[in-house]
Symmetry: C3
Amino acid sequence: MDKNEILKQIDSLSEKKLEAMYLNDFLLTWDKSEDEIAATLQTAEILKSLRQNNISSRLYESGLAISIFRDQSTRTRFSFASACNLLGLAIQELDEEKSQIAHGETVRETANMISFLAEVIGIRDDIYLGEGHTYMLEVARAVEKGHQEGVLPQRPTLVNLQCDIDHPTQTMSDAFHLIHYFGGVENLKGKKIAMTWAYSPSYGKPLSVPQGIIGLMTRFGMDVVLAHPERYNLMPEVMDIAQKNCVQFGGSFNQATSMEDAFKDADIVYPKSWAPYSVMEERTRLLQGGDRQGLQDLEKRCLETNKHHIDWECTEKRMQITRDGQALYMHCLPADISGVSCERGEVASTVFERYRVAQYMQAGYKPYIIAAMIFLSKFKNPAEELSQLVNQARPRIN
Amino acid sequence: MDKNEILKQIDSLSEKKLEAMYLNDFLLTWDKSEDEIAATLQTAEILKSLRQNNISSRLYESGLAISIFRDQSTRTRFSFASACNLLGLAIQELDEEKSQIAHGETVRETANMISFLAEVIGIRDDIYLGEGHTYMLEVARAVEKGHQEGVLPQRPTLVNLQCDIDHPTQTMSDAFHLIHYFGGVENLKGKKIAMTWAYSPSYGKPLSVPQGIIGLMTRFGMDVVLAHPERYNLMPEVMDIAQKNCVQFGGSFNQATSMEDAFKDADIVYPKSWAPYSVMEERTRLLQGGDRQGLQDLEKRCLETNKHHIDWECTEKRMQITRDGQALYMHCLPADISGVSCERGEVASTVFERYRVAQYMQAGYKPYIIAAMIFLSKFKNPAEELSQLVNQARPRIN
Amino acid sequence: MDKNEILKQIDSLSEKKLEAMYLNDFLLTWDKSEDEIAATLQTAEILKSLRQNNISSRLYESGLAISIFRDQSTRTRFSFASACNLLGLAIQELDEEKSQIAHGETVRETANMISFLAEVIGIRDDIYLGEGHTYMLEVARAVEKGHQEGVLPQRPTLVNLQCDIDHPTQTMSDAFHLIHYFGGVENLKGKKIAMTWAYSPSYGKPLSVPQGIIGLMTRFGMDVVLAHPERYNLMPEVMDIAQKNCVQFGGSFNQATSMEDAFKDADIVYPKSWAPYSVMEERTRLLQGGDRQGLQDLEKRCLETNKHHIDWECTEKRMQITRDGQALYMHCLPADISGVSCERGEVASTVFERYRVAQYMQAGYKPYIIAAMIFLSKFKNPAEELSQLVNQARPRIN
């Protein structure tokens, strides 16, 4: 986009109803209105274009962005750092091991103590069912109250960098990718996307990506099909949301019991491993009880169970049964690639390789998606702010 | 404060004698003159107001702020990061575990090697009696000499983020809090503050907070009362300083043997756990001798000893005997709250909760206190610099 | 240098042929042309002078600088952070332990995933012979390809922060030091530099410093003498490069079998410990085979072997036989100083102390050398960019 096109995009942004995003968090895509989802995608596009045109979007002269990673992360860590840096915020990580967080210190207290000069808090907490989202809500309430009480001079925005329920920065990047790929959000209507389980020799991957995908893609009027082996079901609450979306947005949400059924005539396939629901539940229980031996046994059993479904692999043969044998392959990365990162994995290496560049580009949208989420919650008149950036045209690189 | 009030404050700052702060460190409050203490508090207020008025105080286009944490920290870590970011400095942490600091590498060498482009060094080293302050002096001498020798193009300022003797960023924030609470520093004169030990089921908390409090509050003409169980005495050098302050500033410094005596008619109470002096001494000895078993035994014994004083708790009943039953409760946080963070702790949960917001606000002053300490040591004409910031009025958030 | 002198230096820079540096990496000094080496040293000088004149060289409003440290580091870590900060880039470290780098995840993928908004990647990977440089090439190819494929909006530059072959940020700082010390690069011609092994009670130091020194100093027409005990030889490829340099640049490269022979009439001595070549080879083999016991045995044997050469120490007596007893002593730091950091080490404490300030100043050039390497690879018209900085004269400290 050149400057004129950017300004046109900004104009269209100004027509959207975004008041509720201001000083609010981005935790679950289904908490957001159609306008808000559209505006986030559009703002990501605008921020990306500003950078391409060497226009700085450094809106902050100072301000902290806090990251809390309760699970390992490379992609999201760097995306969050990139997004914050793009807006002028400096990252300060809360490393809970290096921190003097007293036993029993309340989340309320810690959340306030780190937020005095913080504009945003990004959290990844995806390991335990029933925990991550709950924790984020607790932090959000704490800083909301801290702001009301006059403790915090500003209300830091929360961005969910993956919880037990949703992974909005990932799925919104996926949506961004699909919109680009199919040439417009209107073209997603009626497209079939197969969100399927796939075998991986690893254990305990969160359910948040498949949940996030069925919760978001049903909003674009897509035909979403979910397939997984028995017992690998998702949270019923999210299944309900997917169903309700279909009523509202005119798509469909169905389940299949085999990869083949799901892949049949699919326009998009998203084969990805996750843990059995009951295992995730038991893991939370064992952890809360401090049962280390139990956790090890569970891991062993879970890997054994996985092995029964080693044939759930996105092979060339299966790709052949998709729409014209040409479905778009997607993955949130890193994928377990058969013969590359493991003996047998989620996807055949030739399939992955054919879509590798597209996948990498998809991952590259995440910094802009996150920056858009932050930006829309921090500025009351986003269109005005963006216009000002274009008009000032301060170079990002001098 | 609006702009005019800020400019008035800056005017009053320009009348203070601050030459000795320039290119100097902030290690102990009692090394600072009355003007210097007052200017630090005033500058903190000004920097806070600038931010409230969305005026950037980013004085540095580039420059590093180095942090060295030899003990865990959340509050101070984030306060230091916030302060440096407010001035435009980027944090670089010296993680001594990840560093190639050769066995026997001198402090002199490391201090110089990390400081080539550093404007400030913040250090927390509070675990061993006789060590933290000594280490800070050694670093200060090293960078002072490095600057004289032409090795360092600038002389980085040291800020004591808690040592074995004092915790000036904490106690200055406490003072800031009291001044706000009582409506002016002149109103502190004659107020009774009870700095008392309190029971905590944890081990080996530093002595620097109570020491810092008696060393600083006696400068405001306050009536400071210290109370603790036998053997939990403080460093005699600091007791002497508190006494001398009384002579100079017209307050008083007394000791009590029970919480009741200390709390009686107190305007402020500061009940907080710390380790027995002899335990702190023995710990240093055992550590230097590498006696791990001895350290474990010591911890066990210390926790046992603590238990004899489990009744040293800031209860509602004890609060009743303070001035009109209304004394201000203070704590440097995190507090051990009975029934919240532990079974029996330093303070009853209802007392803590009643003063929670005030406490949190107090903690929120720390970033500005630290920024003021850095600022006053880096700029020769602080009032002029601050005026310029107000006049430029560059927005912090665009 | 004042502004006029800086502008003169910039003029002279504009006459150099630097096209090949643009969007290229800095991995080995012998990959660089004479003009490129000269321009790097000159740009370092200019950036240093800009800072001395309080002129900001913050060329980036936003942008990440990624560091990957596969070995411990203090000096280089802080130098890289300082360099990036000087240009306006924010450091984001890839901590491979905290990262979700899947087993078998390709370097290609990780390199792309962290680089979406990255301008530079600094890597230290110096522990295993045959590994570090190879890894850097792999990362370079990955981001080069990522850029071509449209995955990365810019091609991040790689800077070698020490590999198994070369340590260019160190040796270029050494060269910078020598040029200052002898009053011009032309005065290095014919100077004798003794790069010798020295005893240290530590194990497995990389070969990259001595290799880098013989590979770089032979380019200035110096008489380079290498001396080490038997079996402590360097990589034959680098020996060849040193020989070839002599033919091209008119210096000499010889080997001696004792410190005495090497020190005789030397203008500069660089006594430094490194591991036996065969040990480095065996270590790589054992590591690849996962043989922990073997690695421990190897370390023990290596330390034993080292002890046979405990007399390889840079003593006052040996310094006496250098040119007029006045050779410049050099070390990349930290040095093992006899009686200071160990009982017997690389250098006598009186020798070290006499050259300590010079050594520290040498270390202080590294941030500017690294900034110059980054700058010259990121800007097509470096002289023009630098002129603009001088003319804008935006203050680094407001």
